[in-house]
Each structure stands twice: as C-alpha cells, then as structure tokens.
C-alpha cells in the first residue's frame, strides 16, 4: 500500500504492508530517533507528535497517518539548532541514558505548547505516560519548569 505523509515538515512517500505500525515504519526508514522500549504502548519511548498531539507510535497503524503530519524529536530541534526545551533538558541534567529523552522532550513540548505556564502537578500528569528509570523524573520536571520560566522572562512563544 502507498502511504503519503509529512514528517518534520518534509513530504514522505512509502510502500508498506497494511499491518505495519508507525514505529516500525519510522525506524526502518532511518528515523531511529524514535525509540522502542516495550512495543506495547506502556513506556512512551516511541512518542511522536501526530498532527501536534503526542501518541505512542507503536500503537498507531502506519496507514492511519495518511496525509497527516508527524513530528519526531528532530523536528523540534537538532544538534545544530537545538530547541530551547532541549537545551533546558541538558542544563537541568534531565539527560542520563537519553533513551527516554526523545519521548520525554516531545511530551513536554506538547504540554508547553498548550500550557506555557504549567504547575508542577500539571507537568507530572503530562509526563505520566513516559517511563524513565535513570533520573527519578526530578530533573526532567525541572527542565520543563526551566523552559517555562525562560519563555516567561523572555516573553517568548513556544515554537
């Protein structure tokens, strides 16, 4: 079957089987920044934004994203042009092994986009679907708070 969609603002056309998950299709096509921790929708490592909303890509059939927009962590910012949020993750020490980071960054991004001044409680709730075993979540929550603070002080909008 033919699939046409946008990923990180670029058009993509693929041939694939109807039963393939979005996660597998992305990883097989070199989007390895999308990680697989459980393949059962429980860890959030494979989070991508589907039309701006975070989803577990292991639970999404690839064919269902026809003509839709996917954003991976590289669509937020790259090594060369990192997003404020990504810089805050590093500054706060929210980056230990980094395996959950792409998913965590996207879940945080989606939260801040909707709610640039979240309470700590709202951050904890927003990150509830993303598991991390290294940090104990403390510095990840810090990173989100630091970003929100920077947005506020510099009068910036979340982009």
């Amino acid at each position: 079957m033919k699939l046409s969609f946008k990923i990180n603002n670029k058009s993509k056309y693929l041939e694939l089987f109807p039963n393939e998950t979005l996660l597998n299709v992305l990883r097989q096509n070199d989007f390895t920044e999308v990680k697989c921790g459980c393949n059962e929708g429980e860890c959030g490592s494979c989070t991508v934004l589907l039309d701006g909303k975070p989803v577990n890509s292991c639970q999404v059939l690839a064919m269902s994203v026809q003509e839709k927009e996917i954003t991976t962590v590289k669509g937020i910012g790259t090594l060369y042009t990192p997003h404020l949020l990504q810089k805050s993750f590093v500054e706060a020490g929210a980056d230990q092994c980094g395996f959950c980071s792409p998913g965590m960054v996207l879940a945080s991004y989606s939260l801040l986009k909707e709610n640039p001044k979240p309470t700590r409680e709202e951050i904890l709730t927003a990150l509830d679907g993303n598991l991390c075993r290294c940090t104990g979540y403390v510095k990840i929550v810090d990173a989100v708070e630091i970003t929100a603070q920077k947005l506020l002080t510099n009068n910036l909008e979340m982009e």
Partner: protein, 776 residues
C-alpha cells in the same frame, strides 16, 4: 579550589541525546543482516527429549538454527565478571535441560524478524517435564536436584554443593556471637523478605554483529562490560579473542542488568557461521522473563543488647534465591553482609551466615544495591527496634555508634568477593554531618515528636503519619580485583583524545572522566574528545559495576593526565628555553612561573612536538587498581501517610543526604541519587514478580510490573555532604548504588512510627499492609 571538578558541567553527550542523534545498539543495521529470534522454555524444569527443526529449516528465508544439537556444550557463567569468575560455571548457551521459564531452547536467524518468529513455531520440541522447586525455602537438600550431573563447577575454591542445590555459601565471624548473644539482657529476632525485582532499563537488551573486511567479528551490544563480553564470547563461541571486537555504543540504562552475557554469544555464532550480520533485540517480555533480576531474599537478624542500647552481638543470616543458575549468587550474598555490618563497627561480636540456593525460578544477577538493598530492611529496622526499646533517638544512635574516620571493621577483611576481603581503615566520611543535615532538612525532631502510633495526631485516625530513617554504606570498586585504564594523546590544536575502557551506561561517566582530565591539564572539558568502550581502541576496564567508574576509572584518567602534563611541561620548557621547574600549566598554556608573559599555547606545544624539533607524540596510558573500597555513606529520611482503610502508603517527603566524597559533577551526582531513590521507592511499594503455580512470571510488562511514573514521585530533597577521599580522584568516592537502599527500611521505620507495627515483607503493597494492620 577546583576549576573543572566539582562543577555542574553539562553532559558532553547531552545535546546529542535530547535531539535523538545518539545511536544505541538497535539503531545499527547492516546490509544483508539476519534477524534472530530465540525460543524460550515455557516449563520451569524440563529435559528436552528431542528437538526437530526440519520443518523450520525448510521455510523460505530461514538461514540458521542454533540448539544443543549443533552448539558445543560449553559451561560458562553469564555473570559478566572478571576472570576467574566467582560465579559457578553452570550455564549452557543452548542446553538440553530447561531450568526456569525463559531458559534458552534454540535460536533462529532469518531474513526478517517475522520469518524468524514464524520459524520458532515450526520447531517441534519434545520435553520431559520434571517436578520443579518453586520455593526458596524448599530447595536446600531437596530430593529434586537442579544441577544434577551436568558438570557444573566453581571456578575458584569456594564452597559449592550442587547436589544439595547450594549455589553459594558464605560465613564470617567476628568475636564470639553465641556467648555474647546468650549473655545479653535484651534480645531481638527479626526477619524480612525481599521480593524479586527487575532492572527495567528502558532500552531492552540487544546485540548486533558482523564480520569486518578482514573477517573479524564485531559485536555492538548493550553491555556494561565490553571486555568481559569479548573474553566470554571467545570461550562460549570458540572464537579467538584476537578475532573479536566489542563496541558499546550509547546505552539506554543498565543498573546491573546489562552486565550479563546473554545475547552476544548468540549473534556471534550466527554471524560466525553464516558470515552475515545478525541482530537480536529482546522484546520487553523477554527482558522480564529471560534475562536476570534482583535475587529474592530472606534475611534474619538476631541482636543481643543492653538497656543503654549497647549491642553486644549481631547475627545476620541471608537465604538467597539464585534461580536456575548461580550468576552473582556468591558475591551478592557476600555483599549482603559486607555492605551492612561494618556500619556500626563498635559491635564486637558479629556473625554473617548466608546461603544461595538453586530453584526453578528466574535467575538473579547484579542489580544496583547488590545485596545491601536486600539486607538493610532487616538491619535498619532492627536498629530502630533497639532504639525504640531503649528510648533512644535513632539519629543520635547512628551518630554515636557508626564507623568514623580512622576506624575499621573486621568485616572488611572477613568478607570479600569470592575470597577473603581486604582490611581497610575508613579515610573519608561525613555520615555524622549527613545525619544532622538530614534531620534538619526533614524536620526530624519535630515530626518524630508529633507522630507516633499513640500520638494525638494519629490515634483513632484513618490517615496516620509517620517518619522513619535509615543510615547506609556501600563501597567503591572491588579492592585489589577491579582494574581500569585510560589513554590520552594530544592533537595539533591543543585538543586531546581521551580513550577509556570505562563504560558510560547513561550515568555521565564520559563527562565526569573528562572533567578529571581537565582539572589535571587545566584545559576546558571541550578540549577532550572522549571515546569509551571499544575493545579495539580503548584500553582495558573491568566495566561499569560495583560503583567503580568515578572512583577507579577516574583515578586511571587522573594518573594518565598527570603523565601528559609532565610531557607538556617538558616541551613547553624546551620551547621557552627554561627548565621544567621554571614553568607551569596556566589555562591551556605553559607559562614561566616568574613571568606569565613568557608563554606557549597547548596548540603551539603540540605542533612543535609533532613537526618541529625532537618530535614525538605526546601520549600516555595509565592503569589503576585500588587497595581499598572506600564506602560512600548516606542517611535517608522518609515521611509517609498510611491509609488504614485501603492499605495505601503515600510517601509525603523523602530526604537523602549523601557522602560521595567530592562530587565530580554535582548535577549528575544528584541525578544518580534521585534515580536510585525513585527506583527504591518503586521497588518498596509496587514492584514484584507474580508467578503462576508452574513458575511462569505473570506480570511481564511495564504496566503490570508497575514501574513508578512521574505522577508517583514524592517531593525529594537531595543534599551532597562533602568529604575528601584521599585515595579517589580529587577526593571522589562512588554514588550510583547506595541510594537505592534507603526506601525499604526508611518506609518500614516510618510505618512503625505511624502505626506501631512492623513490616516484614516487600513490596509494601496495599494487600500486605492491610494484612499487617489487621494483625493483633
């Protein structure tokens, strides 16, 4: 004062991690690659009568199948330790006897993962089911023998009795426990059960292998011990060490779970036989069932003491469930004693007895905390009971009786890792300050007065509050056994390559080691190109375990950088026409001590040494072993609320004060504490293995197993209370393991403070808490 050490420097791989650039094992794929799937035993104990893979072999796309029929039966241990291993050689890559649900039956390599999975279903295995042992208390001396006539043997001269299902046995005596216990006016006996636990690194285990252009085998793997992988794959797959290269890319967490050599020999054999790249990635369920876990433990304490709180005699007994194989069975057991008993070193009569037994349950292995996690719940609750009985404050009690600088414990020598330990005097400790600081931060004295089972605050209330604490120690590396080494060379522009065998598994050790080199060479962290863990290009390191990287590998890096410094000064002095005593390092330059304006930059020095005169490569290598294993210390304070209607324990506040010597990087050090605390809390309150009556793990997914999420975490206060360890790099000790040990005893002591009842079994899940609350 330090310039680069003890600074919160951002992780050198940080941006690459959070932008998804870094590559983990499963991110490597190669042309013509085979996909491997493994068939695991569904029976806890069975013998394979026959394995017929003919139908599977006929399938289009199936390339190779490995089983006992075509793989040499070579005993090894998957423990991933130094050589000779202290764990028994009792494991086969593919044997005929299945010893737990999840044991390896066979493996298929095929053109796609789907074909490999499909082929597994076509393999006909005829089993003879055997009656399993599914209870650790019923193993020793059972008529059912788990390693019968399979040739299993210990590699080192230690007690091992497979005929009685004993995988390990340890005993240590200091003084005369029996008579001192008998003479004591007060006595406590206390037992505690610790459940199984899974590491739950978010990255599953994976290995990829291929042959390079000269026919050498390259293995990329999720390993904490690349050099041990090379040695053990060589042994199991019968490939010369010179033909194997092991690369550790970024690692998605380990916590001990990736010390085991499980997947690497399988892909190695597939590639060696087919000459094609091969990849094996375990599913999350396979990681739960088939890899290794925290041993199940039953500990028992006997304490004899006097009315003033003086403990005369203390006996810690540990019964460990090794599972189907004895990986780490001996050393985790020894650590259950050696990482607890020296803490209150003034107790004159100590006994430790421990036994690890085989069962047909999942196999234990290394897990952050390594025995101490399993023994502190009983130990620290017993100390709380002594204080309660004698009307003493437990914080003051620890302050009075804990081991101090300049003091020793006979246990250090009595309990080693597979052999006698190493006598050691404590150099650095700030435990007393940790206790004071923790009491202050947690508002200990006020809350301890306010709460209590019969207090106005709690009496007759549904929600009862309590505060409890525990003090702990761990170690830093295995003394006189572990070795680390480093290599540094200088480049034209004044930058350096720092190559280390040390294995960054997400802890940030690449950054920490660069900071140490920076401090020696007085040049920024950015000047170092760090490359870690590649058996072809980095010097040897035992690997990331036993809380060793900062302390041990850090010291190797420091020594190596000191050598480089000498060479730089020599060249600099030559260029300035001065003697080496007349120059010094000064911010990426060599300057004359007398006149700072006489200077040559690092770039000029390297260009001179490479191109101009008396040419040579500025380079050095250094190795380090430690004569001791200086303990980090910690005091944890936990405030909880118990819902006596539902049995739910809610942690209100958690305070961890920690002595890790000099924190080389305070941010990553804090991260180690927070991560370990939350892992400890999750284990204390939720995590467990639930088994079917036939020994099959039932909750083999993240959701059913119950890892803490962001929503579950309480407010956590962390304070690093500095000390200076003379034998560590710039005063550093370890920090990675110790802080997982506080949650169980801390919560248990807080629970007593709230309800007046003692907890004896983990996890402290609502069902268990209700059972304890309903007991009279």
């Amino acid at each position: 004062m330090f310039k680069y050490v003890n600074q919160p420097i951002e992780k050198i791989d940080g941006l690459a991690l959070v932008t998804g650039e870094e590559k983990y094992t499963d991110d490597f794929s190669f042309n013509n690659m085979l996909y491997v799937s493994v068939l695991h035993s569904g029976f806890a104990y069975a013998k394979i009568i026959d394995l017929d893979d003919s139908e599977a072999r006929k399938m289009h796309g199936v390339v190779e199948i490995l089983s006992y029929k075509n793989v040499n039966q070579i005993l090894y241990t998957s423990a991933g330790q130094g050589f000779p291993e202290p764990s028994p050689y009792d494991t086969l890559l593919f044997g005929k006897t299945m010893r737990f649900v999840g044991d390896n039956v066979c493996a298929v390599a095929a053109e796609s993962k789907e074909i490999a999975d499909e082929a597994l279903k076509k393999i006909k295995v005829t089993y003879k089911k055997l009656k399993p042992i599914l209870n650790l208390k019923k193993s020793e001396g059972s008529p059912i023998i788990i390693h019968k006539d399979d040739g299993a043997f210990p590699m080192i001269p230690v007690f091992y009795d497979a005929k009685k299902n004993i995988a390990s046995k340890v005993e240590a005596n200091v003084g005369d426990f029996d008579s001192a216990f008998k003479k004591s006016s007060r006595k406590i006996e206390f037992d505690f059960y610790c459940s199984y636990g899974a590491h739950c690194a978010i990255e599953p285990h994976a290995s990829v292998s291929y042959l390079d252009v000269r026919g050498r085998l390259v293995i990329i793997s999720t390993t904490q011990v690349p050099f041990h992988v090379r040695r053990i794959v060589s042994h199991v797959a019968e490939i010369p060490i010179s033909k194997i290269r092991v690369i550790k890319p970024r690692l998605g967490g380990g916590f001990g779970g990736k010390q085991e050599i499980l997947l690497e020999p399988i892909v190695a054999l597939m590639t060696w036989r087919t000459k094609r790249p091969a990849k094996l990635v375990y599913s999350r369920r396979e990681v739960f069932k088939s890899t290794r876990c925290r041993h199940e433990y039953k500990t028992k304490l006997e304490v004899g003491y006097e009315a003033d709180g003086t403990i005369n005699a203390l006996h810690l007994d540990a019964l460990e469930n090794a599972g189907g194989y004895g990986s780490h069975a001996l050393t985790v057991l020894a650590n259950a004693g050696s990482k607890t008993l020296p803490l209150l070193n003034k107790i004159e009569n100590l006994r430790f007895t421990g036994m690890g037994v085989y069962t047909n349950l999942p196999v234990g292995g290394a897990y952050r905390g390594y025995g101490a996690t399993e023994s502190y719940p009983a130990y620290a609750q017993a100390i709380d009971m002594v204080c309660e009985d004698c009307g003493l404050d437990i914080v003051e009690y620890y302050k009075k009786w804990c081991i101090k600088s300049g003091e020793t414990s006979a246990i250090f020598q009595a309990l080693g890792e597979g052999k006698e330990g190493v006598a050691m005097t404590i150099g650095s400790t700030s435990l007393v300050e940790c206790l004071d600081e923790g009491a202050k931060l947690s508002d200990w004295y006020t809350k301890r007065k306010l709460y209590g089972p019969n207090s106005y605050f709690n009496k007759g209330k549904r929600l009862k509050r309590g505060i409890g604490m525990a003090a702990m120690m761990q170690g830093s590396a295995i003394p006189e056994i572990d070795m680390a080494s480093a290599y540094i060379k200088m480049n034209d522009d004044g930058s350096f390559n720092l190559n280390v065998g040390a294995t960054d598994l997400g802890t940030g050790s690449d950054t920490v080691l660069a900071q140490i080199a920076s401090e020696v060479l007085d040049t920024p962290v950015e000047s170092f190109i760090v490359y870690s863990s590649d058996t072809d290009f980095t010097p040897f390191d035992t690997g990331a375990y036993a809380s060793s990287t900062t302390y041990l590998s850090g010291q190797a890096v420091r020594k190596c950088a000191v050598e480089i410094k000498k060479q730089i000064l020599k060249v600099g002095a030559e260029m300035l026409s001065l003697s080496i005593d007349e120059v010094e390092l000064n911010g990426s330059r060599v300057t004359a001590k007398e006149n700072i304006k006489e200077e040559v930059s690092f770039a000029e020095i390297c260009q001179y040494s490479l191109y101009q005169k008396n040419q040579f490569q500025i380079q050095a290598t250094a190795s380090h072993i430690s004569p001791k294993s200086p303990p980090p210390f910690a005091a944890h304070f936990v405030e909880i609320e118990v819902d006596t209607f539902t049995g739910i324990i809610k942690v209100l506040n958690y305070t961890a004060t920690v002595d890790c010597g000099t924190p080389i990087n305070p941010i990553t050090a804090e991260g180690q504490v927070e991560g370990a605390v939350v892992n400890g809390l999750s284990y204390a309150l939720f995590e467990n293995y639930y088994f079917s009556p036939h020994g099959k793990m039932l909750n083999d997914t993240f959701g059913k197993y119950g890892v803490y999420t962001a929503f579950d975490i309480p407010p956590i206060k962390v304070k690093l209370v500095k000390s200076y360890e003379e034998t560590g790099p710039y005063g550093a000790k370890s920090i990675s393991e110790i802080n997982i040990n506080g949650a169980l005893p801390g919560i248990a002591n807080a629970f007593y403070n709230a309800t007046g009842k003692r907890l004896h079994s983990s996890p402290f899940a609502p069902e268990y808490v209700m059972k304890i609350l309903s007991e009279k």
